[in-house]
């Protein structure tokens, strides 16, 4: 599984994502944001950081980087795309995922471990998790407060597109466990087709014991093991 990791000026988790893919058994490569092709990639990761300095709104300028036309087309064709933290913000700005990430309710930059409850396992990103499993991994953001209009939110819930929710360490979804004010404690969602994932917490900072948690590794294992890749140079069918 060849995984393209996009690097924008200001990305700072591209190396974490690269290494996560490697540890999970995949073949990562960096793709600079000025490129216009994803080459033979089977999947794409849009990593965290502060692309283009977060100016205007996080992700707003990155969304128009030259590589994004290829990423949007790749996702539209069913290719697997993961946006983590700033990457999630970029995917929302690009219209690849619904809603937006607003300033944290606390107005503070939050940087600490959080707990997540796995709500969906039948995705190419969560196949190696158990439903209801509680994960611990870091989060690190100022704008992670997930918002969508009531109709969109109801649709996400009805279609089971909320993949991760902030919870306490027992898996109870509570307001004290909500680090940023996200509606319904939403930490990660997929698009209607299920091939595009966005999440604020960092599985790419929880893939080996030395980092304090390995709870993010199954996400990359699921991705690398997914047999639903439909890349530009790849004609395998979506399952």
């Amino acid at each position: 599984m060849r995984v393209a990791v996009i690097t924008f000026p200001g990305s700072n988790c591209d190396q974490d994502c690269y290494r996560s893919v490697e540890v999970a058994g995949g073949t990562p490569s960096y793709v600079w944001h000025r490129e216009t092709s994803l080459g033979d990639a089977d999947a794409v990761i849009v990593p965290g950081g502060f692309a283009h300095g977060d100016y205007l709104r996080p992700g707003a300028i990155a969304r128009f980087s030259p590589i994004m036309d290829a990423v949007i087309a790749f996702g539209r064709d069913g290719g697997l795309v993961v946006g983590i933290c700033n990457g999630f913000q970029v995917l929302c700005e690009a219209g690849m995922l619904p809603g937006a990430l607003l300033r944290n309710r606390s107005l503070r930059f939050q940087s600490h471990d959080c707990h997540l409850r796995v709500e969906r396992t039948g995705t190419p990103f969560t196949a190696d998790y158990l439903r209801g499993q509680v994960l611990r991994m870091p989060l690190s953001h100022a704008d992670g407060n997930y918002y969508a209009d009531p109709e969109t939110l109801a649709g996400l819930e009805a279609e089971g597109r909320v993949v991760f929710r902030y919870s306490d360490d027992r898996g109870d979804v509570t307001q004290p466990a909500n680090p940023n004010g996200s509606l319904n404690n939403i930490a990660g969602i997929v698009n209607a087709r299920g091939n595009i994932l966005g999440m604020m917490p960092h599985p790419d900072r929880a893939f080996e014991a030395a980092l304090g948690s390995v709870d993010g590794l199954p996400l990359f294992r699921s991705l690398v093991g997914a047999n639903v890749a439909v890349g530009a140079g790849n004609t395998r069918e979506v399952a």
Binding site: L56, R57, A60, I61, F64, C92, E93, P98, G99, A100, L102, R103, N104, R105, S106, L107, N145, Y147, A148, D149, G181
Partner: protein, 100 residues
């Protein structure tokens, strides 16, 4: 040159504001600060941003139209923000577009 439209430079103000009903934590914090200073008649605070653009155009209406398009594309996020565009009435001469 003969027949070429004369362009003027208009200063265009864009006000980007959080949509009604949307949680605005910044506005809330400022509201609390104002209340603690005794401004108890200020009932609500919403914080947005102002963006100023210098636009070469044939008329204020043309400048406004251009900027509204830019707002829909980039300057505002339609999911969370509203925008209002105002072009100053009087333009000044600009080198762009062949002003003689």
């Amino acid at each position: 040159m003969e027949g070429e439209a004369l362009l003027s430079r208009f200063t265009v103000e864009v006000l980007v504001t959080p949509r009604p009903g949307l949680l605005d934590p910044q506005g809330k914090a400022i509201h609390h600060a104002l209340a603690s200073l005794g401004y108890d008649t200020i009932e609500d605070v919403r914080v947005g941003k102002a963006i100023y653009l210098d636009v070469a155009a044939g008329s204020p209406a043309e400048a406004t139209e251009r900027v509204e398009e830019a707002c829909r594309k980039l300057l505002a996020n339609p999911v969370t923000e509203d925008f209002r565009v105002t072009a100053a009435a009087g333009g000044t001469e600009t080198a762009a577009g062949g002003v003689r």
